[in-house]
Symmetry: C2
Subunit: 142 residues, 2 copies
């Protein structure tokens, strides 16, 4: 594994910089629209399975387990392209999201609230693109 700065940034060896918990950040965008769908994490196994299979796998910090996106809901993510960032502690998945949405709350994207600019002190959010695309109770009851 490459760990020196030049090797990480300019080399062609995949050398993920896992954090103390053994994770890198994973960002999934819609390959067609560029919309940010979700931000999650991957351990070594999730990254390897995603690369080998072309199906997005993540590591759930709350459930402490590897998870194939859509294994419960059926809303899988077919990976069109994977990229890694300069210091190799984040990966970008451009995906085709199958089914109506990526978010466990029922929305297409996890980012369904905006933070209006110019506020200070207690900050109020605004719903944006927050209509539910599916019923989360039905999707996760299987």
């Amino acid at each position: 594994m490459t760990t020196d700065k030049t090797g990480l940034e300019e080399g062609l060896e995949l050398s993920p910089t896992f954090d103390a918990a053994g994770l890198v950040t994973a960002v999934a965008t819609d390959a067609a629209t560029g919309e940010l769908l979700m931000v999650a994490h991957m351990n070594d196994e999730a990254l390897a399975k995603t690369i080998a299979s072309g199906e997005a796998h993540y590591y759930s910090r709350s459930r402490r387990k590897l998870w194939r996106k859509g294994e419960e809901s059926g809303h899988t993510q077919r990976v069109v392209e994977i990229r890694v960032d300069c210091d190799q502690d984040a990966v970008w998945l451009r995906v085709e999201q199958t089914g109506p949405g990526a978010c466990h709350t029922g929305r297409r994207s996890c980012f369904y609230r905006a933070v209006p600019l110019g506020q200070s002190g207690e900050v109020r959010l605004e719903f944006r693109d927050a209509d539910r695309a599916f019923d989360p109770k039905a999707a996760y009851s299987k």
Copy 2:
């Protein structure tokens, strides 16, 4: 601050879920093209300053300090929209990147290498959109 799951996911109070180091993940995309420019982190102060000023501020884990994007290079990020994700541990900045690029290596985006799919074992990267947009030595020598 809201900490219960329903409040975090469905409420309109900004209640960032900072990790043990006091950070949330920040993802910056180009507001016009949807291109993923960078993934970084924010502490409470960086988030507050970004919301109040509309200029992207981050927290550098390696340098252990707040940092206004572009303070050295001049390549600032004007924030068009901020969104927060379902569990409020990640924020999405849609930005207008001023200057030629967001990455300290001189590229427009930090994600200038692809991971070809279908590989297992030692994984080889491929440069993609990796031409330098500016000379990092000149930009960071001030």
